[in-house]
Amino acid sequence: MSRVAQLAVTVGLMAVLLSACGISAKPQAGTKNISKSHDYYGLVDEPWTLQAQCLKSDHVEFREYPATGQKLPTIQIGSLPTGPTIVFEPTPGAAQGVQIQGGAQGAEAIGSALVYPNQAQNGLLTEVEACTSAGVTG
């Protein structure tokens, strides 16, 4: 084997070795008490984080809860019937699908959220719509 070929093989192997650097051992799926392991990263990524921050900074009173039925994450601003309701579908496409099928006629689709204006005042609705738009692209 020529020197050049030897060098190429060495460099190639080094690259393969280095590419694995930084990988830590992960507990295998099915491990007992996996959620207590320090290597366990699973968490609930709430869809309303940005929206809740925005509403809080606007001093809008609200509460979060999983809606009945499909347990979709929901934010209720104030109280019904005057407070708007925000229901989070898993994806913007899902929200769009619900709307296409006529399942959320009383809602505005904003990203993955369905905002039900209910009988809210225009000023409050404007704040709620703006907060729901937080982080939404497209």
């Binding site: 913007p92 709307q99 006629q105 505005e108 904003i110 990203g111 039900y116 204006p117 609705l125 939404v136």
Partner: protein, 537 residues
């Protein structure tokens, strides 16, 4: 007429740092007369451009096209009156009116009118490039007009933008030849093109203002050779254009006061990205074009080169598009009117500027034009496959709706589109209230009327007008993205659509019968969803 690329003794052309590039032609073609060779190239470019641009010539209309066809379907005498409420100048609508009488009002038929205007930019671009900067630049110009994302897109849209781009090209040719080269006959061309632009789209005002400031700059930096008679010619050109526009001026003033676009938002600082994407076709091609042109213009770093007339042409082409955009951007901070399609009048100065630069860049210019063709030759890469789903909605609903049924459209300006695709004999309302003529959008004080229209007062009256057994088709926009729904008008549409939807869904007299579209294929622009209800008691 001397070839502008030929330097005069008084004004030595800047020394070219790049090696000239000659395209190797077969011997047979070399022997052919020059006019034949040029005609062949232009024909080939036009055919390739048409091939690229006609892949979706029969594609469905979107909202604005529905409005345009709706307005142009009226009698010639009533079009100006309707446009007073719409907010547009009349030229394209009148041309489309005659065009539709000849070829019909189908999608492909009406798209062809825009296609023709876009195709005309190729030979006219060649002619303009030749008068301004010689044969090589002319060929580059024709090529750039043949392979351009903006023209690709708007050549299949039944709107005035390809016409506006063509008029922008004529105005640019007239301006540079008339004012910089002082060929006075071209001043008439500039004036006529500017007048026609006034009659085509409101951004003509920004182009006129941009060209006027450019002219002042030209006066300041020029010697007596250019200044002589410049003011007189400029006065003739601008006053002439304004005089031609005078008959429309009362309508224009009325429109400006009452029909400003409440659907648009103030622009921010993303204009260069918008231009790169929508005018040139993306970041990669923009870099290629700018590099090619930049190399060609590199001799301008020398002070002596900046004193040439060629340098003045470069500066004027730059200021024509830059000042137009700058003024439009500034104006849109007060009255928002900044969307990609409005860039039509500045496409020509930008492309000519780049073409001249690339023609001076030798081999680099040739490579840049080669890559431009490679990027752009993908058929329909810059044409939307699906502009709107209204055709699909109407396709599903047309057999279910009957004469006398009520159609309610959540987005008022989408009504002409729905009317175009749905069968006749239906009654119409938008979320503002009942509509007598669904072929156009009445923008007069629309925002004020929309805010004043309370859903709980307007909708029950409409529903009470239905007899049991009659139906109501509710068409509303899909609003999950935010960029289209930020302006005061569009955010109110989103809200009103939900409020009207809530009343319809809660009404016990109504039974949900059907919904559409069952196959949503996406949409470039605005998409809708529809639900059909029957009044059961």
């Amino acid at each position: 007429m001397p070839d502008p690329a030929t330097p005069s003794a008084a004004e030595p052309r800047a020394a070219n740092i790049m090696r000239e590039f000659t395209f190797p032609l077969p011997r047979l073609l070399k022997r052919a007369p020059e006019w034949f060779r040029i005609a062949t190239v232009l024909l080939l470019l036009s055919l390739v451009a048409l091939w690229i641009r006609t892949r979706y010539i029969g594609g469905q209309f979107w909202m604005d096209e529905g409005i345009t066809v709706g307005i142009s379907s009226h009698s010639l005498s009533s079009i100006p009156g309707i446009l007073r409420m719409d907010g547009s100048p009349p030229l394209f609508y009148l041309l489309l009116h005659f065009w539709m009488q000849m070829v019909g009002n189908g999608e492909a038929a009406t798209h062809w009118l825009s296609e023709i205007f876009a195709a005309l930019t190729i030979p006219i671009g060649y002619w303009g490039g030749r008068t301004i900067a010689g044969k090589r630049a002319a060929l580059m110009c024709a090529t750039l007009f043949a392979f351009n994302a903006f023209l690709d897109y708007y050549s299949v849209e039944t709107r005035m933008y390809s016409l506006m781009a063509l008029l922008g090209l004529l105005a640019t040719i007239g301006f540079i030849n008339g004012f910089v080269y002082r060929r006075r006959a071209y001043v008439i061309l500039f004036s006529a093109a500017q007048a026609l632009m006034f009659y085509t789209h409101a951004w003509a005002i920004y182009f006129a203002a941009g060209s006027l400031v450019s002219l002042l700059l030209l006066w300041k930096i020029s010697g007596e050779d250019i200044r002589k008679g410049l003011i007189k010619d400029a006065l003739m050109a601008y006053v002439g254009a304004i005089v031609v526009f005078l008959p429309w001026l009362p309508n224009f003033i009325f429109q400006a006061i009452h029909t400003a676009a409440p659907w648009d938002s103030k622009p921010r600082f993303g204009a260069p990205i918008q231009i790169a994407k929508s005018v040139f076709g993306g970041a990669s091609i923009t870099v290629v074009l700018l590099l090619g042109a930049g190399v060609g213009y590199s001799p301008l770093v020398n002070r002596s080169a900046r004193a040439t007339r060629e340098a003045k042409v470069t500066l004027m082409l730059f200021t024509l598009f830059f000042l137009t955009l700058l003024l439009a951007w500034a104006g849109s901070q007060v009255t928002p009117a900044w969307v990609v399609r409005y860039f039509a009048p500045v496409v020509a100065p930008m492309l000519i500027l780049i073409a001249i630069g690339m023609s001076r860049a030798g081999v680099i210019g040739a490579i840049a034009i080669f890559f431009t063709i490679c990027f752009m030759i993908r058929p329909s890469a810059f044409e939307p496959k699906y502009k709107s789903d209204m055709q699909d909605i109407a396709g599903e609903m047309k057999s279910l709706v009957h004469r006398g049924d009520l159609v309610i459209v959540g987005q008022p300006e989408s009504m002409p589109l729905a009317y175009y695709y749905l069968p006749g004999g239906l009654r119409w309302a938008s979320t503002i209230g009942p509509v007598k003529d669904p072929t156009y959008m009445d923008w007069v004080d629309a925002m004020k009327r929309y805010r004043a229209s309370v859903p709980s007062k307007v909708l029950p009256k409409l529903l009470n007008s239905l007899k049991p057994g009659q139906q109501v088709l509710y068409i509303r926009p899909l609003t999950e993205g935010v960029s289209n729904w930020e302006a005061p008008w569009t955010s109110l549409i989103r809200r009103r659509s939900a409020q009207w939807g809530a009343i319809l869904a809660a009404d016990r007299q109504l039974k949900r019968e059907a919904w559409a579209p069952h196959n949503y294929r996406g949409s470039c622009c605005i998409a809708d969803a529809a639900v059909l209800y029957e009044k059961v008691s």
